[in-house]
């Protein structure tokens, strides 16, 4: 009996996922973009200050320990970059992607332009929506986080990190775009390296920031669609010398 109940639950989940995917496809069908439905994960470890000292060493090209391991023998080893869990893993930068896929079950999508459809925006903070994006020969980590930077006032923060070094990250530009109800919001920036830690990017506010009211204006039935594009421009072409 329990088995049948579980089967029925699984089938319902599949139908729900299929429906969301269909809805997202309908929404973005005009652009012919790949749509990825991303379900939220309640952040189990949330320690915004754990990377405070990491940035200085990152600037010097070193690989900083994002978690405070007791002893790091090989300076080429990178800690786990998954923003969701406190994970003791460490390894070379080249195998971070396979660790994130296999251990933390983070999906990976191919394509220069994709649509990230974050579901269940109403869930309480802290909550993360995470996916990997493979594009232009590199892998990127897209993080959407709902967080109460000011108590009682949750906000949404979205950023893109390169799974690579800071100098590699400087060769790219990422764009996040929200488009609904005759309103459009675009954020363009150079991705940070995962070695710099997503927590510090979000606490600095150097990313796309949405108040709850703005997020509601852009979301459809509890889901927020974010168009993502990555290009290889070193300098923003239209940017004046500022």
């Amino acid at each position: 009996m329990l088995f049948f109940t579980q089967c029925f639950g699984a089938v319902l989940d599949l139908i729900h996922l299929r429906f969301q995917h269909y809805k997202a496809k309908r929404v973005f069908s005009a652009a012919g973009q790949l749509v990825c439905v991303v379900n939220p994960t309640h952040s189990l470890k949330y320690a915004p200050t754990r990377c405070a000292a990491a940035q200085a060493s990152t600037e010097q090209g070193l690989l900083p320990p994002c978690h405070h391991h007791e002893a790091v023998h090989d300076p080429q080893l990178v800690p786990c970059t998954c923003p969701l869990f406190s994970c003791p893993w460490e390894g070379h930068l080249e195998v971070v992607v396979s660790h994130l896929r296999q251990t933390h079950r983070i999906n990976i999508l191919q394509g220069a332009e994709i649509v990230f459809l974050a579901t269940d925006m109403h869930l309480p903070a802290p909550t993360d929506w995470i996916i990997m994006h493979s594009c232009l020969g590199h892998q990127f980590l897209l993080v959407l986080r709902k967080q109460e930077k000011y108590e009682g006032h949750p906000q949404f923060f979205a950023t893109m990190m390169l799974i690579g070094t800071p100098s590699q990250a400087n060769n790219f530009t990422y764009r996040l775009e929200l488009n609904r109800n005759q309103r459009r919001l675009k954020w363009e920036a150079t991705p940070r390296s995962v070695l710099e830690c997503v927590d510090s990017v979000i606490s600095d506010g150097d990313c796309l920031v949405l108040n709850t009211s703005l997020a509601q204006l852009f979301s459809d039935n509890g889901s927020l669609a974010i168009g993502i594009a990555i290009t290889t421009s070193k300098v923003h072409s239209a940017e004046a010398e500022m």
Copy 2:
């Protein structure tokens, strides 16, 4: 002696203004856009709920009293739309612009694309930066407001209002763009009518919203440059059916 001191002060002000204008021109010289230096005004009347009931009647094409006058005899009369002062003036929509220029000294600029350079971003909330923009045969009111929606956490809100009716406003799209330090933020929307009240637009969060940290990332030496463009599109051309 007092006269000479005042003269010296005025000359210093002029030099400071000239320097800011030169700096802004240098920044935007590539785009060949008109730059307008806008000084802040500490908001004397700040009553976020004063227009709570106004929106419903605006939707029906009526001209709502944005201030609560005791008796409005002519339904064609519009109250003063200046967001800065509690002003007892009322008159026909056609003469709102001349009232704002003459009584409230709000500058007006011509051109399809201009740059709004708001100075002294550090001033405490509530503060407003306001200008009128004449373009495509209509006048628009650009309002940048620093306000503490949540106590102790000032935010910046920028919006554009048509000095006209809501149905006229639906024919336009405005774009606000921030561009600095390899980061770009764009907001595109249909302007609201000044009859709908800027306070309600800001309290709804239906505008460009910047946290203090993001505003600092985009500002240069305490000034924030916002590129403004207005077009006559009824529907956003690239917007999918959402």
